[in-house]
Amino acid sequence: MSEMLTKSAARNIFYGGSAFFFAVFIGLAAHSHYYAATVSTDVAGLTESVERGKRIWEKHACVDCHSILGEGAYFAPELGNVFVRYGGDKDAKGAREALKAWMQAQPTGIEGRRQMPQFHLNDKELDDLVDFLAWTNKIKTQNWPPKVSG
């Protein structure tokens, strides 16, 4: 039966098996795509200002200090739920003002404290960024993070 013990048969099983798992993965990813685009995110609330906020988030590489939904650098606090940490669930306006004020007050320059750069965002950009963070806060994340501390 040595004809089947060849390496070319091994290669075929390797390719076939991998293709099988990959096909399963693609199928589940397609379902997850649908889920993310309909169930877990606020699609109606994904306004242009939220998108602009996301681009500002990217332009300044915020993810290279902060994490968002637990991904990113771990140098600065998690921001996926920062809106609720600032009380945005109870007082959205107050949280917005507090976040903007925080951004504008950076860097603190306090010795021995981690410093956040001043990005010179104008008021509209700050609003967009807060819109993005508020939108992100509404993503259904299977109840992560465990504590509001992020």
Partner: protein, 203 residues
Amino acid sequence: MTRSRTPTLTDSTIPDAAAPPADDWGPFTGLPGHPLMWVLIGSELLVFGAALLGLLGGRIADPVGFRLAQDHLDRLAGGVNTLVLLTSGLFVAIAVVRAKAARVAATRGWLAASAGLGLMFLAVKAVEYATEIGAGWGLDSGGFITLYFLITGFHALHVVMGLIILGIVARWPTAGNVATGAAFWHMVDLVWLLVFPVVYLVR
């Protein structure tokens, strides 16, 4: 494209040592079917074993929710499907015997019979799924329902994969190919022998 004439270190110039025979697969030698198929079989058994342990572990955390969902399963259909797969396994095992005797037509006939039962399994499963989905169940319902769909769905995809493999080995029905394809099919069968009692009956 000239070869370098520089004297070189010998490890690049030593020809590969005389190769051992192609059917020497170390510890895998002697397994029926291709050794790499057994790597796949082993991986699958680990996956399903872990999933079943996960299911019963999850059940400890939420016994009531699990029971309420589980009571809606069609246990009779699950039992019938067990018999279908076992019979299908018999047919494919006979196909292996015939393939060893190089009886191509008989081999293909038994493979086809086996695949037919595989299709019947899928049909029964589809009826079950249709009822359950009609009752509002979905892959992301959570708890028992999610695990039920994941485990049986992943198994059903293996049946589909098995049908494809049976088709391929029916096209090239050498003894080795048929043994390799049969090994996969039996693995699908074997997994169901554990899935059926644990998912449907443990309650």
